[in-house]
Amino acid sequence: MRWFLLWAGIAAAGPQTPLGLDAYLPVPPDNPIAAETAALGRALFFDARLSRDGSVSCATCHEPKRAFTDTRPLATGIGAQVGTRRTPALVNRGYGRAFFWDGRAGTLEDQVLKPIENPIEMDLPLAEAALRTGHEPAVMAKALATYVRTIRTGGSRYDRFLAGDRGALDEREQLGLRLFRGKAQCASCHLGPNLTDERFHNTGIGFRDGRFADPGRASVTGAAGDTGAFKTPTLRNAAERAPYMHDGSLATLEDVIEHYDKGGIENLHLDTEMQPLQLTADEKAALVALLQAMTGPVEAGWPPERIE
């Protein structure tokens, strides 16, 4: 008989779970959350020595005060090199199942060192990173992954409403919630505590002149049907995280709603869920209002500290 230890989680004696999130936070058995690991991870996260020229740390793009992303449409690495994708927000990634916009990493431990090596991000060989920090790559991976796991947000007005506080959302926001789950069908992808299905969808973003500059998920799977598909991001704290989409091409939440209202951008592999929504102006405004109500305080570290 086969059986597998799946994941350990945060012990009961650990910090309180933010409202709206699960108490069970998946953690690999060989990397339980511990204060020392999280502290080392935090130190590494802010350590610019992890870039070749010492100019960029993880926090340079993943700014804590902006839900651990930045305001640039596309990520910018050392030497002002501009990447092809927007810096993803790191909130609640501990609950994630796939990492990077194309999901090429299956765990946070797999993911966290990749930007260090990436020539247009931090461009530092891991061996050199180990020399500079005095920590083996495996140790750095566990520490950074642990720190990222501690970055959590919940407790928004949306969460309070779901927990039974009927006054937490006003009338317009409640209309937005009905639309979110009904006519606008946002909840078919943005669902659950973290408001994402952790799957990959082609909404037509990035399709120009008859092609996708970025193949998205297809670069991982090799499947033509995955062309232009990118991971569904969380909607938590979206109001603080403009611009939007994997290429930062939509400047405002209103732009995002317009994109979905028209049914995305037609292309060969457009997700069949994408259909024109026929939203009225009031309905669009209600959806934006709801998205703004999904903003909550962000905490990081172990024990957690609120990001001010």
Binding site: W3, L6, Y24, R181, S188
Partner: protein, 551 residues
Amino acid sequence: MMRVLLILVSLVLPAADVPKPRKILSNANLLGMPSPDGRWLSYVDTPSGDLAVLHLATGDARKLTKQPRRKGEFAYFSTIAPDSRSVAFAWFNEEGFYDLRMVGIDGGVPRILYRNPEAGFVQPCAWSPDGSQILTLFFRKDNISQIALVSAESGEVRVLKSLQWVYPKRMDFSPDGRFIVYDSFARDGVPERDIFVLAADGSRETRLIDWPSNDLFPFWSADGGTVVFTSDRAGTVDVWAAAVEDGALQGEPQRVLESAGRVLPLGLTRGGSYYFGVRSGWTEVYAGTFTQDGRADGKAAPVPATYPGRNFAPAWSPDGKRLAWLSRRGSENFGQEERVITVRDGATGKERELAPRMAHLETLRWDGDVLLVSGSDGRGRAGLFRVPLDGGRTEPVVIEESAGFRGIEGVAMRDGILAVAEGTRLVLHPRGGGETREIYRSQGSRIRLITPDGERLAFVEGSHLVTVSISGADRRQWFDFGDAAPAGLAWWDAGSLLFARDAKLWRLALDGSAPRALPFPALDFSLRGREVAFTLGRTDSEIWVAERLLP
């Protein structure tokens, strides 16, 4: 009755050394559980909707709630505390969602432990061994299911884990209170379930049963050493026992009860008695013909050539060339069962099975050559879906935020799909998109069973049969069904309608006269001209016990 009993006895064969299970109740509902001490069985008193308990030794029954029938409130799932002094139960309240409540085993005033419209549906599954927490499943309004602990004292909630659209069919506490065992889909995109063990403090999770079969309905034995579950790994639905230690599997599971049939496990007592429900009976789709004046033109005959006894909810295609119906498959769970669509070609007699990727199929209608199915899909959406006959992709037509898993009712009209919105409005959704149009708005009463003819709509509003013109004007109220709601509605001609009720077909003339029973009995039906397809059948739910199930 005797025949059914004999069939059941042959279905439920115990493994060696296990006492033969015995039936303890017929016509039972399967929403309750035995108390851990084996003295009581909780259930819902169906006529009143009240929570009740049955003393298993004496047969004495006692209602624990007293609710005026007409209020439309009722009890649902329940679980009895370890000390047998309290019962936690779900209560469908006056606002139209489920509270978690608690009441003493001797009755008294129930206490609302948790009330949250966003929680939608709550299912208390087990008490912590110290009686302080109630392990509860929330099935939220947004179709997310959550494993939660609710304080029996304060009602405070701790959500341990969210499972997107999948809900465990059973959850139980380990007797030391450290673990929760539950079933869930083994992986994305597969219908089979595995069994998981989650630490009650949220600190870790293991996959206890990882096997390419459907493993579900887990219960923990009183000594903590065994998890009992059902599995189809041997080709039939059997009850298996897995040795566990510290939340992990020890050795191979052993079969302890063979061929349990359409089993719905209810609980395992401290004394090792395993209580389970069994669904028995059959349903079948028949077809018959009426004469013009409503007499039977010959005998009705069963239609399906495949899966006899499992079929219901027939629907003629508009051209009459095809008949579709729903057909049960697999084992059942509480409330929902696996269903597929069968389409019979009238010319060739060939039957084809469609298994759209939907979580639940409730009713069938046609829109031209495509089926309109009410229910919910695998993405947590409920409403009305379009299912093409060529096996193409199932697509939502109307998604309703307020719809339950059974979806919403809708019918094809010339200009679009007319569907019930928020339970009280009839809204036309034009073909090819465009602005929706409200046809009719009820003043609070719920609308169901819409049926159009060329000029008018008929539907049931509250308990009344109502007709309006196709524009929604000229409302007329015709007949009060009272408590006995109809199960189908169709125009017979311009001056009369057919409906099914009390397992009979009735014709109601729109002249104020009383309905007249027609010759064919029917649980539901579809009418095309003078041909009628209808469901016949009889179903029962029984409760059985296998005493000393575990060695």
